[in-house]
């Protein structure tokens, strides 16, 4: 039963831990900062710049696709760099394995290209 006690303790700490800063923030606000709402304080940006237009604007999903294609080749570099550094000591099977890996990525790029994802609309 002792280990169940430990588990309960763990759970209790896990609940209390985030509550402490919340309680402190609440107490701080309660004691030291009286509420004085005003036009400037309630604006979106307290730096003084007037906000214009609604917050909900549409993003082109193209940004997302670009980032995705970029990410693939970013990760590829992580694999290619050690491969290139140790190239002379590697067996032929390692070369073939990496070529298969590259082929998969390149097919992905060709597919994205043919689908017109790389052309900005």
């Amino acid at each position: 039963m002792n280990s169940y006690l430990l588990l309960t303790l763990f759970l209790a700490i896990a609940i209390v831990f985030p509550l402490i800063p919340l309680a402190m923030a609440w107490a701080w606000a309660r004691i030291f900062s009286p509420a004085k709402p005003g036009h400037d304080k309630q604006s979106s940006y307290e730096c003084g710049i007037e906000s214009t237009g609604p917050a909900r604007v549409q993003f082109q999903s193209h940004y997302y696709l670009y980032a995705l294609v970029f990410l693939v080749f970013d990760v590829e570099t992580v694999f290619l760099l050690p491969f290139a550094a140790a190239f002379l000591n590697l067996p032929i099977s390692a070369f073939l394995a990496l070529m298969a890996f590259l082929l998969l990525l390149i097919e992905g790029l060709v597919w994205a290209w043919a689908k017109g994802i790389l052309a900005w609309k």
Binding site: S3, Y4, L7, L104, E107, V110, W111, A114, K115
Partner: protein, 486 residues
Amino acid sequence: MNPLLVALAPQIVLVLTALAVLGLGVSIPRARNAITSAALLGPILSVVALHLFPVHGLFLGGMISLTPLAGIFQLVILGLAVVAMVFAADSFPKTHFAESLALVLFATVGMLLLCATDNLLMIFLALELTSIPLYVLAAFDKASRASAEAGLKYFLVGSVAAAFLLYGISLIFGVTGSTNLHAIASFAGPSDPLLLVGIVLAFGGFAFKVAAVPFHLWAPDVYEGAPTAAAAFIASGSKVAAVFILAKFLFGALGPWAGSMTAAGWAPVLALAAAASMLLGNITALVQSNVKRLLAYSAIAHGGYLLLGLASGEPASLPAVLFYVIIYAITTAGAFGVVLVVEHERGGSRLEDFDGLAKSSPGLALCLLVFLISLAGIPPLAGFFGKFYLFATALENPHLLWLVALAIVLNAISLYYYLIVLKHALVLPSHEDRKAGLHGTRALVAALALLVLALGLFPNFFLTPLTQSFHPAVADEAPVPNQTHP
């Protein structure tokens, strides 16, 4: 040749086919038939590879583990993938058509891997490889808001479930010091509460795939909103793979921690989830007016029946659970096929859309009768035998009498909502015209109905190889491979 390449030949063939299909999709996007045939070649070649290289054994220290039982399940999943692709070929829109088939192929690769591994990390990877293409497939109908909602809900709930599973795996690894199922089974420690927490968390991850209460909330919206072909694959293929791996996880690795109705362990958790799933699924299905939604609640109820078999903790109930999930998957895939044709003819899947089906396409109505009666568990169809076998073996655990009694009562209730669908299809008249078409789907639905009938009349035809393959079984002792101890 590298033995690993031979062992993974079915998966490699599928990946290569998927890449070829993607290539065809950008080079000849209009040649629908050519793309479909190329995609169908994938599972067929994969089955050939499965038969040409019947490799059994452990590879990479249990990362890949091939048993005869895994082979049977891979075969079933490949069959379900063919069904899903024929449905998709008949119903998916022209835009991104090749990609939809490639996604089915990628998901199939994940399911095959899920059946062929002994390692928790590989299980997680394979589960994600299965899920991610299915998320996309659920949201594939870009013109439909319901489809977008289905995809998003499936994705969000799925990611949370994946987090549950991963956290559970990390706790299990922390206590036992291994991610290999056999090594976990041979971990001779006391019943550590932390391990039980890990097991319950991991069960949560699997329960999402099985659509068991309380991880069922995604099922009705996804089944209803997703394109019907995608829903058919989610309901059949992914369920088969998930139940197989859950059974392997519980019986193969966690047998010592089963517990009982009186002792802590995973069996009481499963029993509670089973009872809740059966109650909620069967009772909520009574008031559904959309057949796809009704099938979703029926899927939740059937998830409950399957968990009941697992909760008994008896090794004898393992073949019954696995047999039943295969029968269930075949039947549900067929029922979704009928829904697909009705949707094509009437533009919807509400109960009223089924009116007069017997008049306009009697063959299809007969198939629907076979599927729904089998789901309700009425002899001589496969569903009856599967349920009988499942309940009979579960009763070997005397503590489970209450659960089996509940299951039988709820099963009788379930007949009502299946009969409501049949009343609309067979009895009520309709004056609307119906469109013809979808010949591939119609033929496949007929074949599935025959299969359900045949499995009901001659269950041994399939059950014998299944039970025989249990020799080096899921639950059995396999050589503990060289371990990855920390």
